[in-house]
Amino acid sequence: MNAKDKLFYFFYLHRTGLTVLALSTLLIVWPLIVSNPYNLGLSNLIAIHVLVVLGLNLFIGYTGQISLGHAAFFALGAYGSALGSTTFGLPAWPVMILTALAVALIALTVGLPALKLSGHYLAMATLGFNIVVYTILIQWDTVTGGPSGFAGIPYLSIGGLVFDNEVRFHYLVWIFAMLCLLLSLNLVRSGVGRGLAALAEDETAAAVLGVDTRTAKVKVFVLSAVFASLAGSLFAHCYTFVSPDSFSIFVSVDFVIMVVVGGMGSIWGTLFGSALITLLPEWIEVLENYKDIVHGLILVLILLFMPRGLVSGIVEMVRTRIALSRQRHA
C-alpha cells in the first residue's frame, strides 16, 4: 500500500467522523458567512426540523412503521415548555427535560398497543393522536391561548448568556441537532441499530435472529418522540410564540415528506431532506397556489423513481452509468 492508497484508506475508514467534523466546522463559521438574520432564521428552522426528522427517520427507516403524528409530539414539547416556563414561571431547562420525559410516557401509551399489532395501525393511531392534540390546543383556550396562540415565552439562557438573537440561537440549536445526529449515527452502527436494520428489512427474519422486535419498535418510537419534544421546546423558546397552526396533521405529513426525500433509513439524508423541504417554499414563492401540488409531486416522483431517497437515488444512478460506460469501453 503506497502513501496515496493509505491516505484514501484513511479517508474511507474515517468518512463518517470526517464528514461530521467538516459539517461542524461549516456550522461554526456559518454565521460569519451569512449575516442576514432572515437566512439565519431559516437555517435555525432547518436545525429544528432536523431534530424531529432524525427521530422520525430512525423510526420509519429502521422499524418499517409509519407515524403520521410527530407534529403532536412537537406540539407537546412546545406547549409543555411554554406553559412550564411562562404560566408556572419555572426555570426553562428543567421544564424542557420534564416535558421530554412526559412526552416519552405519552408516546409509550400510544405506541405500546398500536405496535403490538402487525400492519399499519400505528399510522392511524398517531394520526388520531395528532388530531386530538390539535383539537385540545384550539379548544382549551384558557390554558393554551386557543387558535390565536401562546405568546410571551422567555428566551433560553445559560448563566448570563441569553439566546435572544439568531446568531446565538444558531449555535444552540445546531449543537442540539449535531448531538442528536451523532447519537443516531452511533445508534445505527451499534448492535441495537444493526438489529433494527434487520427489523426494517424483514420482521420475521429479525425475530428469528433474536431481535426483540416488539420492544425495539416501541423504544425507537419513544426515542423519536423525545427528539420531537426537544425540537418543540427549542421552537417555542426561539420564536417566543407558538400557535396550533404549526402542529396540524399537515405538518406531520411534511415531516414524512422530509424523511422520504432524504431517504428512509439514511441519517445523512435527513439533513438534506429537512433542508430541501424547509427551503422549498422560499424558492417557489411565485408558485404559492401550487405549493401543495409541488409537495405532492415531489413525494410521488421520488417514491416512483428513487424509493431510497433523492441522495441515494442519484448516487446509485451515477454509479450505474459509470459501470455501464466502463463495460462498454472494456
Binding site: 409509519i66 398497543p113 399499519h120 388520531g128 386530538v132 401543495d292 405532492g296 416512483l304
Partner: protein
C-alpha cells in the same frame, strides 16, 4: 345515525383497497371531498337536475379512482407497503392541491337532495336529507353485497383478497382487480361526499376529517371486514352524537380518535375482526 352511514361508506372504501392491496389508501379522504365538488359542478356549472347529477358525480369519481391507481400506484411496481402507503399520501396531497386550484378555497353550499321540510314517520320528524342518506347508503351496501357475491369481478376481488398469488395462478388479472378496487373506493368515497356535503358545506379539505373518521370506523369494526365496516361506522356515528349531547360538542371530533385508541388497547382486532 346519518353520519354513521357516511362513515360506513368511507370505511367500506378503505376496506376494499386494503383487502386487495394490503395498504391504507389515504386518497380515500379526497375522494369524499371530490365527490362533493363534482356534485356542486354538476348542479351549478352545468345545471343538471339532482337525480342526474348524483350518478354523474359518482361515475366521475369511479373514473378518478381508476386513474389514481393507473397513474399513481401501478407505475411504482413496488411491493414495499411503506412505499405504497407514502405514495397514496403524496397522491392525496396532489388531489387536494388540484381541488384548491379548480374550485378555490372558499366554502360552498350544496342544497339538500330532497327539499328541507321535515318528514314525519311514526311520530318522529326527520329531515329528508337524513332519510335520503340512510336509504341510499343501505341501497349501496346491498348492491355492494350483490356485487361481491354474484358477479365475476366481485368474486375475483374476493379471491385476490384471500390470496394474492393463488388468485394470479388461477388466471385472475390481479392488476385489473386492483384497478377495480380503486374504482370502487372512488365510487364509495364520492357517494359519501355527495351525500354529506349538503350537511357539512363543501370545501377542498372537508373530506380530511370525515375520511379519517371513516378509517377509525373501519378499525373499530375490524379492518378489512365489510360487515365490520358498516357496524363500525354506525356505532361511531352514534357514539359521536351521544358524546356531543352528554359531554361537550367542542370535543366532538376527538371522540372518534379516543374510541380508536381505546379499541386498539382493548380489542385490537376490532368488533368483527378475525
Amino acid at each position: 345515525m346519518t353520519s354513521g352511514a357516511i362513515y360506513a361508506l368511507i370505511a367500506l372504501g378503505f376496506c376494499v383497497v386494503h383487502n386487495t392491496m394490503g395498504i391504507v389508501n389515504f386518497t380515500q379522504v379526497d375522494f369524499v371531498s371530490m365527490g362533493g365538488m363534482f356534485m356542486f359542478t354538476g348542479l351549478f356549472w352545468i345545471g343538471l337536475p339532482v337525480p342526474l347529477a348524483l350518478p354523474a358525480a359518482v361515475g366521475i369519481m369511479i373514473l378518478v379512482g381508476m386513474a389514481v391507481e393507473r397513474l399513481g400506484i401501478r407505475p411504482s411496481r413496488s411491493q414495499n407497503h411503506l412505499v405504497l402507503i407514502f405514495l397514496t399520501i403524496g397522491l392525496s396531497i396532489i388531489l387536494r392541491g388540484l381541488m384548491k386550484l379548480v374550485w378555490g378555497k372558499n366554502r360552498m353550499a350544496v342544497p339538500p337532495l330532497m327539499g328541507e321540510t321535515p318528514v314525519r314517520i311514526a311520530g318522529a320528524s326527520i329531515l329528508p336529507q337524513a332519510l335520503a342518506i340512510l336509504v341510499i347508503t343501505a341501497l349501496a351496501i346491498g348492491l355492494l353485497m350483490l356485487f361481491f357475491r354474484c358477479t365475476r369481478l366481485g368474486l375475483a376481488m374476493r379471491g385476490v383478497a384471500s390470496n394474492h398469488n393463488a388468485a394470479a395462478i388461477v388466471g385472475i388479472r390481479v392488476g385489473r382487480v386492483k384497478a377495480a378496487s380503486f374504482a370502487l373506493a372512488g365510487g364509495l368515497g364520492g357517494l359519501a361526499g355527495v351525500l354529506v356535503t349538503p350537511i357539512t358545506t363543501l370545501s377542498y379539505d372537508v373530506g380530511v376529517l370525515l375520511g379519517l373518521k371513516g378509517f377509525a370506523a373501519a378499525i373499530l369494526g375490524g379492518f378489512g371486514s365489510f360487515p365490520g365496516a358498516v357496524l363500525g361506522g354506525v356505532s361511531l356515528g352514534l357514539l359521536e352524537s351521544l358524546s356531543a349531547g352528554y359531554l361537550s360538542s367542542a370535543y366532538k371530533d376527538v371522540t372518534a380518535f379516543v374510541v380508536l385508541l381505546l379499541v386498539l388497547f382493548i380489542r385490537p382486532k376490532g368488533l368483527l375482526g378475525r
